[in-house]
Amino acid sequence: MNELLEMTEARMHVYNMLRNIFANEPTMKVLKSLSNGVLKDLSENEDVKEGVEKMAEASREIKNTRDLDELHAEFARLFLMGKMAVPPYESLYKGGKTLMGDAAVAVRKEYLEEGLQVEKLYQEPDDHIATEFEFMFFLCKKTVAALKKSGEKKAGAFLAKQRDFMETHLGNWAPQFCDKILDSTNSDFYRGAALLTKGFIEEDSRFLKEAGEK
């Protein structure tokens, strides 16, 4: 029980980190922590390890605001503008080719079931990878609270929801998304982020499956 709690708390933190990596450009403060090796012992997974290392190295290369601007411009090129090199929206990996595709409406329903909606409803596509990570972060948080308060029973439902969401949404497109980043950029920061994400999703999918099998 304590192990499950510890694990879920850890996962919650990772999801929190992932939503930040793909929602926002990194600040100098974040880069500093990364270059100090804050993620060093995060996981034994090979992809995660390599990703963490790359991100740390890349962070050390950012010395001034000019470098930072370049990194932010790379973020914009990949995920934000001019026919994004790597569109961060689920719909685009499920056969759709415009914003606000079918997956956006599908995940909107999932969020609503948990009493949530996108802060800027109808303005930001619901199926942005960072929003999906945030949803997992939220579910982890709920699980942690449930584990602390009422034990495993209620927590089980939240874990089941995570597993479902992983199976129907995040898990079946995030790996492709990460591969597309690896194909599209020379930036070690985002290559690292892609590896870290890929490795983590792989492990977490397995974790959720096993947790479900009990």
Partner: protein, 952 residues
């Protein structure tokens, strides 16, 4: 619970990571769920349309701005239909209208403010907050204004009619020069209407249905069967079937043809309109490019010689006809040394135009003996030519002397009879603001507008603003040459561009790029210190911007459309979906920028004129409609027989109809109930006032009240330049044609077109560069619309043809999802990823006559390298076709050589398609309006590439 891999992530490291990334609270998601709940009325709609919400708005896929009915579901555009209440398109759309969602949800949308990180043009940007972007803009503008005044700012409002907020913003911050796309589109076409009646746009009387007052006093919607239609229409360099600018013109032309109207299309290329005409008893007249003037001059001479003109009409409505005709006739006995023939004779015109004499006589006879009818000229020729004024002048004169102007089934100046809008909202009054500048050491006080970079400087009659000359003016700076500030000099330091793409369309493309990249030799900074792009898609212009602000797409913003019906119509735009990302409406952007300026200490900005006043977009647009419809109660039949004739009408159609009005006899104004956004919401988004004909007191806006053949408009300009320097345009005219002007012509005038085989001065260039390059739009596509991949699926004229190399793209396809037994299969449009094999997708195409192709060994699909008379070279894939006359290469406008990754599939074809504006001579600016000679290009073919496996 057993978890075998429980250690795949460590809590201690994860906790540290979380600390590094900060916030633990939700940001993209919220637990404050607030779905738009269904009120009673919405519930009704919900039941009716099974979940769809219906709103009325208008299109902006092209500038036709057709009324639309848009169905949304789950906050998303699902279906788009034409709005039947709008007589302009009457429920119809062209093929592009339904594709609007492809632009709204394009991956190329700009969703956040961006700031440049690399060099201009490099396309490297980072996202910033609105506050950061506004802070950057305001800091720069305040500094620039401190050093150089508000006159050093240009606001270019682009190609839409919903831009009054940007006019207000620019004028409010002290910029007298607010320009628009209309300044670089088609101004020579407007010359005739402008000088004869102070008008703009003459089109055949084809808009049906239209509301007409009946003899019993009732108002009736009348259609094609009930009203006269033109018996002939001559389109000179105008292709309405493709350039769907005047939506009703296509359906109107077809219907008129069915009813026996003869359609004559004068164009070097067999454009869609010409093809349609010839298939229905009309004619294609494949004239030598640039000789429309010669053609029309011969027709006018023929009419006058035969005495076909409508003398009664001329006597009643015109002035100065004698002076005009005597200036015209003064050429009749002169011999043109280039061919030894008398000017304006049929033989002479046949020689110049390369048409047969019989053909020109036949056409002149039709025009001289058939009534009603209309001559209409456009941007495929006349409107984009250096000598286009002359054809515009002659076309106007012929329409008038034949008595067709404002006759039922004749020709109508749609600009004159459309609604008035804008009023104070556009901020015109700011231009009257007093400013003081030090001129030659002395303080001089005058009005803001007297610092205008064109009208008070190099282009005294540059009524439409001289955007084509911006690169030179920005590089060289401005010197005021007329008015109180004469002698004052200032630089241009900031330029806002809203929804425009001058880097592709503004005249010679390379000159624009050169201007943006130019640096001050002393400081090393960019000469133009601030370039701001406000747009919803990433176009080439944005690549040169320092700051990009995300503008709401046309489904997300407000507006009032007024173009170009033949009777007053107002159409409302309002958001049918929420603005994507952080994009904002025009009023919000105006408010945000002016507020930032104010907070940075700009004392020109009064909060009460901006954000404190316009707390909602509706307030602004209601103010825009204060002068609406603003037309006079005149014409036959009189629109409102119950109200005084000749008075100006204001207010809603229903209040005027019911007589719920107050009448101001002193000012001769009838005030109905004000028209508002709310009124429009309740009336399907559209207000329609009655049609009438012979509305001369409304349509003719000259000082004399007559159709002027001696132009007071230009007499006024001559007063202005008296004692001042010769306008820059006169210097250019002398350089390019040898003609010497000391003042503006005030009645008939003539000069020969430059870079043209018909002009002997250019014999040497013609020999070296045997081809003329002409250009026209594709599907009336604007440079942004190529971002929509569907546009590549429909060929157009012979300049948009499936000659692609293999590539991958997303396209919309009809997917059948079963059949419910009714006639129509059930299905939906889906966007799918597709690999396009060679020759299956439309790209910018250069059309070439088979005789020319043979001479150069070219076959369809080859890529030719074209070199223009200035030595610029570009490549384009070729279509060999009989639809173009020999000696002419026709390329599309804005469709090739597109170098922004934001423009979709066209970007992938940039290596073998040309941006035709790269060929424009940047100094070839027309003598009066300073308009670029977009179509005055001579060229030769310097290389031919055959496709190889590597290139296909």
């Amino acid at each position: 619970m057993k978890i075998s891999r429980r250690n795949f992530v460590k809590l201690s490291a994860a906790t540290a990571a979380a600390a590094a990334f900060g916030a633990q609270s939700l940001s993209a998601l919220t637990d404050k769920v607030n779905l738009d709940l269904q009120s009673g009325e919405e519930q009704e709609l919900e039941d009716k349309f099974s979940g769809y919400d219906v709103k009325y708005t208008y299109d902006s896929y092209c500038p036709s701005e057709c009324g639309l009915e848009v169905w949304t579901k789950d906050g998303k555009v699902e279906k788009i239909y034409g709005n039947y209440a709008d007589p302009y398109n009457h429920g119809k759309m062209c093929g592009k209208g339904p594709l609007g969602a492809g632009l709204a949800y394009s991956l190329g949308r700009i969703k956040y403010p961006m700031m440049r990180v690399g060099a201009r043009g490099e396309g490297k940007f980072k996202r910033v907050s609105w506050d950061e972007a506004l802070d950057h803009i305001a800091t720069k503008i305040v500094d620039i204004k401190k050093k150089h005044g508000g006159e050093s700012i240009i606001v270019d409002t682009g190609d839409m009619t919903d831009t009054p907020p940007y006019y207000r913003m620019g004028r409010g911050m002290g910029a007298p020069h607010i320009t628009e796309h209309g300044s670089i589109c088609d101004t020579p076409r407007r010359f005739g209407p402008r000088v004869f009646i102070d008008g703009k746009r003459w089109e055949p009387d084809l808009m049906r249905p239209t509301l007409v007052r009946q003899s019993d006093g009732s108002l009736k919607e009348m259609g094609y069967d009930d009203l006269p239609l033109p018996k002939y229409i001559m389109y000179v360099g105008w292709n309405p079937f493709t350039a769907t600018r005047i939506h009703y013109e296509s359906r109107g032309t077809v219907t008129a043809q069915i009813k026996g109207c003869k359609v004559i299309v004068v164009d070097p290329a067999m454009c869609t309109t010409a093809a349609q005409a010839t298939a229905n008893g009309g004619m294609w007249v494949p004239i030598l490019p640039g000789t429309d003037n010669h053609f029309l001059a011969a027709i006018l001479r023929h009419i006058l010689e035969k005495g076909y003109e409508d003398k009664a009409f001329i006597d009643e409505y015109c002035t100065g006809v004698e002076e005009f005709t005597s200036a015209f006739k003064s050429y009749w006995d002169k011999t043109d040394s280039s061919n030894g023939m008398k000017y304006f004779t049929m033989e002479w015109a046949a020689d110049k135009t390369t048409l047969s004499k019989d053909k020109i006589v036949e056409i002149a006879e039709i025009i001289g003996t058939t009534k009603p009818g209309a001559i209409c000229w456009g941007m495929n020729g006349v409107g984009h030519r250096y000598a286009g004024y002359i054809a515009s002048m002659l076309g106007t004169a012929i329409n008038v002397v034949m008595g067709n102007f404002e006759a039922p089934g004749g020709t109508i100046d749609c600009n004159q009879v459309r609604i008035s809008k804008g009023g104070n909202a556009g901020g015109g009054f700011f231009n009257g603001r007093e400013v003081t500048r030090t001129v030659n050491g002395k303080p001089v006080t005058g009005k803001q507008k007297e610092l205008h970079m064109d009208e008070m400087s190099d282009w005294p009659a540059g009524w439409y603003d001289v955007v084509g000359d911006h690169p030179r003016r920005i590089l060289e700076g401005i010197e005021i040459k007329y008015g109180p500030f004469k002698g004052y000099k200032y630089p241009i330091k900031a330029r806002f561009e809203i929804g425009g793409n001058t880097v592709i369309t503004g005249s010679a493309t390379w000159k624009w790029q050169e201007m943006y990249a130019a640096r001050d030799p002393e400081t090393g900074e960019y000469k133009l210190e601030l370039a701001v792009s406000i747009d919803s898609l990433l176009l080439e212009n944005a690549l040169y911007a320092d700051v990009i602000l995300p503008a709401a797409h046309y489904f997300e913003r407000y507006g009032i459309a007024d173009i170009y019906p033949s009777a007053p119509v107002a159409v409302m735009r309002e958001p049918v979906i929420k603005p994507l990302g952080e994009s904002k409406t025009q009023v919000e952007i105006m408010n945000a920028i002016t507020k930032a300026l104010y907070e940075h200490g700009d004392t020109d900005i009064d909060p009460n004129e901006f954000w404190l006043k316009y707390t909602h977009d509706d307030i602004f647009w209601n103010e825009v409609m204060e002068p609406t419809p603003g037309v006079k109660n005149v014409g036959e039949p009189l629109p409102y027989p119950n109200l005084p004739e000749g008075y100006k009408l204001l207010g809603t159609p229903d209040s005027l109809e019911a007589g719920r009005v107050t009448i101001d006899d002193e000012k001769k104004v009838i005030h109905g109930e004000p028209i508002t956004m709310d009124w429009l919401r309740k009336n399907q988004g559209v207000a329609v006032w009655p049609m009438a004909w012979r509305r001369y007191k409304q349509a003719v806006k000259t000082g004399s009240g007559k159709i002027e053949f001696v132009w007071s408009k230009l007499e006024e300009e001559n007063e202005k330049i008296k004692g001042g320097p010769r306008p820059y345009g006169f210097e250019l005219l002398e350089k390019y044609t040898g003609d010497v002007w000391d003042e503006y012509p005030t009645t008939f005038f003539w000069y020969e077109p430059p870079y043209n085989p018909a002009n002997p001065t250019y014999a040497a260039t013609t020999e070296k560069y045997p081809f003329q390059v002409i250009t026209a739009r594709v599907h009336q596509g604007m440079t942004a619309t190529y971002a929509n991949p569907q546009q590549g699926e429909t060929p157009c004229d012979s300049t948009w043809w499936p000659l692609n190399r293999e590539f991958e793209a997303e396209v919309a396809e009809w997917v059948t999802v079963g059949n419910d037994g009714s006639e129509m299969p059930k299905g939906e449009i889906k966007v799918v990823n597709k690999r396009f094999r060679r020759g299956t997708y439309c790209v910018a195409t250069c059309s070439m006559n088979p005789d020319d192709a043979k001479a150069y060994g070219v076959v369809t699909g080859d890529v030719v390298t074209i070199e223009n008379m200035l030595g610029k070279t570009q490549k384009n894939v070729v279509l060999v076709t009989h639809t173009i006359r020999p000696g002419v290469l026709k390329l599309p406008f804005g469709a090739g050589g597109r170098f922004s990754p934001g423009v979709g599939t066209t970007y992938q074809q940039r290596d073998y398609t040309a941006n035709v504006n790269e060929f424009v001579d940047p100094n070839l600016l027309t003598p009066i309006f300073g308009f670029p000679g977009y179509l005055d290009i001579q060229a030769r073919i310097v290389a031919v590439e055959k496709p190889t496996f590597a290139t296909i």
